[in-house]
Symmetry: D2
Subunit: 429 residues, 4 copies
C-alpha cells in the first residue's frame, strides 16, 4: 500500500507529487516549515487582499515545476540519474530559504553592510542555510549545493534554478497572478516547460515556445508595475522602513522596544552585519538561529508592541502600518530636485508639529523619516547575462533578442525608470 | 473623475466594488483591518498549503455577494432603499468580525463559560463589536444591527445574512475550495444568486436553481469531511488545544509564559468569561480591547516563546505545533470504550517517561493532554430551522426536503458521526 | 530534435501528450477525424451556447486520462508493458468511435431493430469500426480490442475503459461542465486518478478518494437533470425525432427528400437494421461506409433542404429545428393518463388545421408527431454491476455503497423518474 | 414571477443577462441563430481541437460586455437613456452578423470584386443584414444602425462597437484564449472595462488600466502568431482556398459539383459580386437570402460531395481538407524570389504527375493550386486611426503610444511581416 510520492494540494498546479526520501525530509525541516509563516509578497496583501500566499507554497511549486522540466528534458533524450534529479528538485525547493519576513523591505534593514561594504543578498543566506542543512544531513545536499552554486559539471541544471527563465520565475509569476487576481500575469508555464530541451549542454526553448517566453517577460514587467511596485505597496514599504529606522534610532532607550521579539532584537541591536553570512563557515550559528527564528508573526507582533511607545513618532508609524493608514505615493515625471525635497521636508515638519507628533526642535530630523523619494527601475530582459536561447526550426540557436524582431527586443531590454515620492496625505502633492 | 465605488481585486470573485460611504469606512476600521491577520481556515493551511486566506477577504466577498443578491432581487420587482442596501452590505461585511485567531480551536479556550454556563458564540462577539462600531459611528449601523439581529421588519434581509443559504456560506464554500484546490467544493454561486427572489416576504429559490442548492449542501458536507475535519487538521487542532491547556495550567508559575502576547495573556489569566460578552453593554471595554488586539501573529509569537519553557511538556507541544510535527488521528468504527482510552493513556504515559518529557509521577496526568478522542458530526441540511424554500414552476413554495426526492432529502438531512482518536505517532494504533 | 510525443492543446486538461506510433496513427485516421464533425452533446448547444465541443476532443481527453491513470498505477507497483499501455490508450481513444451525429436522439432512428429485435447500441458500432481499423492496421489493435471486449487476462484495463468510474465518464463530466459553464459538474478528476491503484487484480480507490467518487456520482446526476435532460434539450430532441419520423414516412414520395445527404439517405431508406452490425464480420462495408460518412453537417444540410418540402408538416418541423423555434416541455407529476394524451392530441390536431399545416383528415395522425410524452430516468450509481471498490485504511475492500453511510448510498442508488410532455407552445399546458 | 432578463450560461463570462425586448427578439431571429452554425475561428479547430466555438456565442459575449461597459460609464456620471443602451447592445450583438463560414478564408472567394474593384468587407454585409432586420422590425434598429455607422451624435457609443479596444476584441481575445487553451491570450477584460469612462465625449481609459491595455494589444499580437496565423492553420487555409478555386474552374462541367449546397452554388456560379452588397438597397434579396442560408455545414457537406469528383485534383483537395491531410507551411526569411517559386512549381508539377493527379499537360497549371506563398502581417496597434486614449492622473489625456514609454510604444506599433510557402509535404523544403 505504499507510494513513492506524497501528494500536496496546490491550488495553482493541482496535485503536486513530492518524492519521498531527501526532498520530503527537507520539506519537513523547521527551516522549510518556517516558510509557511513568511508571505511571498510581503506587503502586497495590503493592496491585493488575496495575496497572502507563503514562500512555502512557492518552494513546493518551484520544486514541482523542476520535476516537470526534468521529465520533459529526459523524454527528449537527455539522460540523468536519480542523484541529479533529487539534487535539482532540492535546489529548487530551497532556493529561497534565505528570505526573511517582508524581504525586499526589511532584509537590508536587518543586516546592514559590514566592513567590506557588501550588501545583504538573500542568495547568500539561502546558501548558508543549505550548507547548514547539508551538514545536518551528512552531506546529502552536496549535489543540490553544486547545482545551486553553478559548479556542477552539467550547467543546465543550474540554469533551471537560477536564470531569466528558471523555475523560480515561472512559479512566482503564475502564483502571484493567481493570488492577486491580476489576469495579465497569467503565463504559459506549461508551454515553456514542454518546449524546453537540452542542446549542446545548455537549456534552449524550441521555436514554438518563443512567443510564450516573450509573454513571460512582458507579463513579468507588467506584474512589477501593477503589483510589486504598486504605489500603495511602495507606500506601505515606506512606512515599514521608517518604522524600523525609528526603532533602530531608539534602540536601547525606549522601553516599548524591550518587548520586541528576540529574533528581531538580535538584528536591531546590530549584533551582525551582512559580512557575517559566510556560506562556508560553521561558526555563525547565533546569526543563523536568529534568522531562522524570524518570521512575519515576530515582525507583526513587535510592531504591535511598538504602538505602545511613548515616542509619538514610533507609535504613529507602527499604528499606521497595522491599521493600513498609509502615506500617499505620487509619481514624478523626473527625479525630484533638492528644492522640491526641501519643500516636502519643511511642510512635513510643520505638519508633525501641528499633529503633536514632534517637538519644534525634533521635527526637521523626524521629517526625514516621513519623506521618502525613490525610483522604481525595471528591465524585462537582460540579453547580456544568462540569456535565453531559442532553438530555431533550422537547428541553429539564437539568443532571444536576436530571435525576436527588433522592436520587441527593444521593448524587452529597455530599462524603465519611474521616480516617486511618498508623503503623509495632508502634505502630499 | 470620481466614482461611487472603490475596486478590490479578489481572485475569487474578480473585481469587487466597495461602495464609498458607510461600507468603505467600515472596511478601513482597525476592527476590520484586524481580519487581515486572521486566517479563515485557522489550521487548514497545515494540510492545504494554499489555504492561507484571511477573514478579511471573506468579509469583502460576502459583502460583494450581498450586493449581487440585492441587485437580482430588485431586478425582479422587490423595491428597497439605499439605507437597506447599505445596512445589508454592512451586516454581510461584519458578520464574522467576532472571530478570533484559530477560531474553532481557540475560542472556547479563550472565553470559558461563566456562571450562567453559557458557552462562547462568535456571533455574540460579532454583535458586541458591531454595537461598539455603531456607537463610534453615531448610530449609523442601526439598520445593519437590526438586519443582523433579525429584528428588522423585512426578514428576508436577515436570511441573506444568516441562514442555510446565506452570503457567508456561499462565499466561504467558493473561497475555501479555491484556496485549498479541492475541486469538489466548487459551487454554482452565480446560479443560486441569480435564481433568488423575494416571494411573500421571504427568500425563495426558483425551481431552476434547486439542483444548485442541493449541490451546495452536498459540497459543503464534502468540504467538511475532506478539509475542515481532515484528520491532520484534527491532529493540529489537538496539539494546539493541548498547548493552550498546558499554558493555562502553568499560568503564573512558568517564566516562559511571561513573554505571552498581552492580548492573549488577558484571556489565559481568565480575566473574563463568555458571560462578559454583553452585546448591549458599554462597560466591557477591556475585554473588547483585548479581543480586537488578538490575532494570528500574537498566538504564533506566544507559542514560539513557550518553546523556551523549562516545562518539557509545554515546550514539546509548542515545538510540535510550530514545526508541524503533529500527532496521528485514527478513525474509529465506534466511540472508544473506557478500556481503550485507559490503554492509550497508559501507553502514552509510558512513552512520555521514555522520552524524558514527564516524570513517572506526572506522566499519567500529562498523558491526558496527549490523548484526545472526539466525534466529528455533520448534517448537510436541517429542514427544521431556517429551511430553504423552492418556488415551484406552478407558483407554490416547497421546503427543500419536500421539493427534492426522498432519498436525496434523506442524504441531506442524515447526521453523520465519526469517532476518532489523536495520539503521538509512536503510540497510535 | 525528435520527441516521442506530439502535443495537443486541450483547454480542459492543458497540454496533452499523444504518443507517436499506434496512438497518433489512429488519431490521424478518417474514422477519428470524423469525430471532429460530431458534437459531443448533440443538441445541448441549443441551451448551452458554449457546448459545441466534439467527440474528437473527448476521445483525446479520455486517452490522456488513461495515460495518467496508468502512470499512477505503475508508480504504485503494478507493472505493465508498452503493448498494454498502447492498447489501453487506443481503447480509450476509440471507445466512442461508433457514435453518430446527435447520437442519443438519432441512433435508434438510423438503425431500427432487425429480426432479432435487438436495439442499436453504439458500443457494438464502436466494436465493428475498431475491428475494421484492426484489419487495416494488420492486427495492431488486438490488445485494444481485447481490453475493450473485457477478454484480456488483466481485467483492470477493461475497468478503466468501461465501468462506472472509467476514463470516459471522468472526461465527459469534466469537459461538459467546462463547456456548458455549469459549475456543479466540476469533479475532482485528479484526485480520483491519483487515488487509484490495482489491488488483487482490480481497480480500487484509496479511502482518501472516496468523497471525490461520491462527488463524481452526485455531479453526474446533477449534470443529467441540469444539462443532458434539460427541458429545452428534450424539446429539441422531440422536434428532431419528429422531423426524422416524418422524413421516413414520406421517403420515396417527397422530392425534397431527394436532396438528403447520401450517407443519411442510406439509413432512411432502411437499407440496414441494427442486426447488420456484426462486429466480427467482414461483409458489411456498405453499412460501415455510410455510417462513417455520416456527421453533423450531413444531418444539418439535409434538414435544411427538407424545409423546402411541399409537405407542410415536414417543412414546419425542419424549420423549427434550424431556427430553434422549439416546442415546450412540461414536467408532469405522474405519467399522463390516456385521457390526457387524447386531449393533447385533439387540441394539437385542431391547432394543426388552424395553422394550415394539416388537412382536417390528416390532422389526427399528424398530431402524433407533434405530441411526445416520455419519462426521464436516472440512478447515479448501480451497486450491482461493475461496482466501485474502496480500499479502506485497514486494507480491506468495500463496495462503494457499503463504504458510504446508508443515506448517501441510498441517494446514490435511488432511481429517479420524471414524466413530461412536449407540445407546440400554443397547445402546451 | 417575471424577470426583465433571460439568462444564458456562457462558460467564458458566466451567467449573461439578455434583456427582454429588442435584444432578445434579435437573438431569436434566423439571422442570429444562423451564427450557431458558423465557427468563430474557422479552421482553427484543426490545430486547437477545443476551438469549435461559434459566432453566436461571441455575439452574445460582445453584447454582455457592452452592458458592463455601459454600467461602468453610467456609474461614473455619464447619463444615457434606454434607447441608447438597447441600441448599443443590439449593435454589439449584430456587429459580426455579416460573417460567412470560414470567413477570412472564403469570403473573398464567395463574392469577388465587381466592376468597381472594391473587395468584400464583412462589415458591409453586417450593415446590409442589419438594415434588412431594421425593415422587418419596423425601424426599431435605427439607433443600433446609427451607432454602428458612427453617425450617432454621441460618438463614444460607436467606439465601443468598433475601435482598437471595442467589445468585439475584448470578447474574442478572451474567448479564443479560453477555447484554444492558449494561456498567453488571457487578458484583463474586467480591468479595462472597469477603468473606462467618457471624458469630453470620448472613451478614455483611466491610468490604472493602461498596463491592461498594453497587455491586450500584446496578447492580441501573440494570439495572431500563435493561433490565427499558426502554420497549420495557414496550410488548412491554403487547401480550402485551392479546393474552392478548383471548384470554380470546373463549375458547370463537373457533375460532382451539381451536389453543391444551393446557398454555396449561388456564389460559385458568380451570380453576384462584392458590388452587389448595397447596404441601403432593398433589391438584393436573392444575394442576402443565399448568404444567410450559407453556413459551415453547407460548406462541409459540399466539400464531402466533391470528393466524388472524377477530377483527381478536386477530389484530392477535398479529401485532404476533410481528413486533415494538409500541406506543410515553411516560414521564409524573405519573400520568395521568382526562381524559388518556379522551382517549387516545377517540383510540384512533377509530383502531381507521379501521383497520378495530373496529366503531364495539365500539371504545370494544376501546380499553381498546390503552391501558395504569402506574407502574414500584423501590427499590434495603430496610433493613427481610432487611437486609444489614456486619462492621466493629472486629468490630461494622452494617446496610448504617448502614454507608454518609447520602446513599448515602438513594439506595439511595429509592423511585423513573415513570408511563408505552403506545399505538399513531399515537395516542401
Amino acid at each position: 500500500m505504499s507510494s513513492r510520492f506524497t501528494l500536496f494540494n496546490d491550488p495553482v498546479h493541482g496535485f503536486v507529487s513530492v518524492p519521498k526520501g531527501l526532498v520530503l525530509e527537507l520539506v519537513e525541516t523547521p527551516e522549510v516549515q518556517r516558510l509557511r509563516r513568511i508571505r511571498q509578497l510581503g506587503l502586497g496583501f495590503l493592496v491585493f487582499p488575496g495575496a497572502v500566499h507563503t514562500r512555502f507554497e512557492h518552494g513546493i511549486g518551484a520544486m514541482a515545476l523542476m520535476g516537470e522540466a526534468l521529465d520533459t528534458i529526459r523524454e527528449k533524450g537527455t539522460l540523468m540519474d536519480v542523484d541529479e534529479i533529487d539534487g535539482a528538485r532540492a535546489a529548487a525547493l530551497l532556493h529561497d530559504i534565505g528570505h526573511g519576513p517582508f524581504s525586499h523591505t526589511l532584509e537590508h534593514q536587518l543586516l546592514r553592510p559590514g566592513p567590506s561594504g557588501r550588501r545583504f543578498h538573500h542568495e547568500r543566506m539561502s546558501r548558508a542555510l543549505m550548507a547548514r542543512l547539508d551538514r545536518r544531513l551528512g552531506g546529502r545536499l552536496a549535489m543540490a549545493l553544486a547545482i545551486f552554486d553553478g559548479t556542477y559539471a552539467r550547467p543546465f541544471f543550474h540554469s533551471l534554478v537560477a536564470s531569466q527563465l528558471d523555475m523560480d520565475r515561472l512559479d512566482y509569476l503564475r502564483r502571484d497572478s493567481f493570488y492577486t487576481g491580476v489576469a495579465e500575469g497569467v503565463v504559459g508555464v506549461d508551454r515553456i516547460i514542454k518546449t524546453m530541451r537540452v542542446h549542446k549542454g545548455r537549456i534552449v526553448i524550441e521555436a514554438k515556445g518563443a512567443y510564450a517566453v516573450e509573454n513571460v517577460l512582458l507579463s513579468r514587467r507588467l506584474m512589477y508595475w501593477q503589483v510589486y511596485l504598486h504605489k500603495t505597496v511602495l507606500a506601505a514599504d515606506h512606512v515599514l522602513r521608517a518604522t524600523f529606522a525609528r526603532a533602530r534610532e531608539r534602540w536601547g532607550t525606549d522601553p516599548a522596544l524591550e518587548h520586541t521579539a528576540p529574533s528581531l532584537a538580535f538584528f536591531l541591536a546590530e549584533e551582525a552585519t551582512a559580512d557575517d553570512i559566510d556560506p562556508d563557515a560553521d561558526h555563525h550559528d547565533a546569526l543563523l538561529d536568529a534568522y531562522t527564528a524570524l518570521d512575519d508573526p515576530d515582525v507583526l507582533y513587535s510592531i504591535k508592541r511598538w504602538t505602545e511607545s511613548h515616542d509619538h513618532v514610533l507609535a504613529d508609524l507602527a499604528r499606521r502600518f497595522l491599521d493600513r493608514d498609509l502615506f500617499r505615493t505620487t509619481p514624478l515625471d523626473a527625479p525630484p530636485t533638492d528644492a522640491q525635497v526641501e519643500d516636502w521636508r519643511a511642510r512635513t515638519a510643520a505638519w508633525l508639529v501641528a499633529e503633536g507628533l514632534s517637538s519644534r526642535d525634533d521635527a526637521p530630523r523626524d521629517a526625514d523619516l516621513y519623506v521618502a523619494t525613490g525610483t522604481a527601475r525595471l528591465a524585462a530582459y537582460d540579453a547580456a547575462s544568462e540569456s535565453i536561447c531559442i532553438l530555431q526550426r533550422d537547428g541553429t540557436v539564437r539568443e532571444l533578442s536576436q530571435a525576436a524582431d527588433a522592436p520587441t527586443a527593444g521593448a524587452l531590454e529597455a530599462r524603465r525608470e519611474r521616480a516617486y515620492v511618498c508623503l503623509p496625505k495632508p502634505v502630499a502633492p
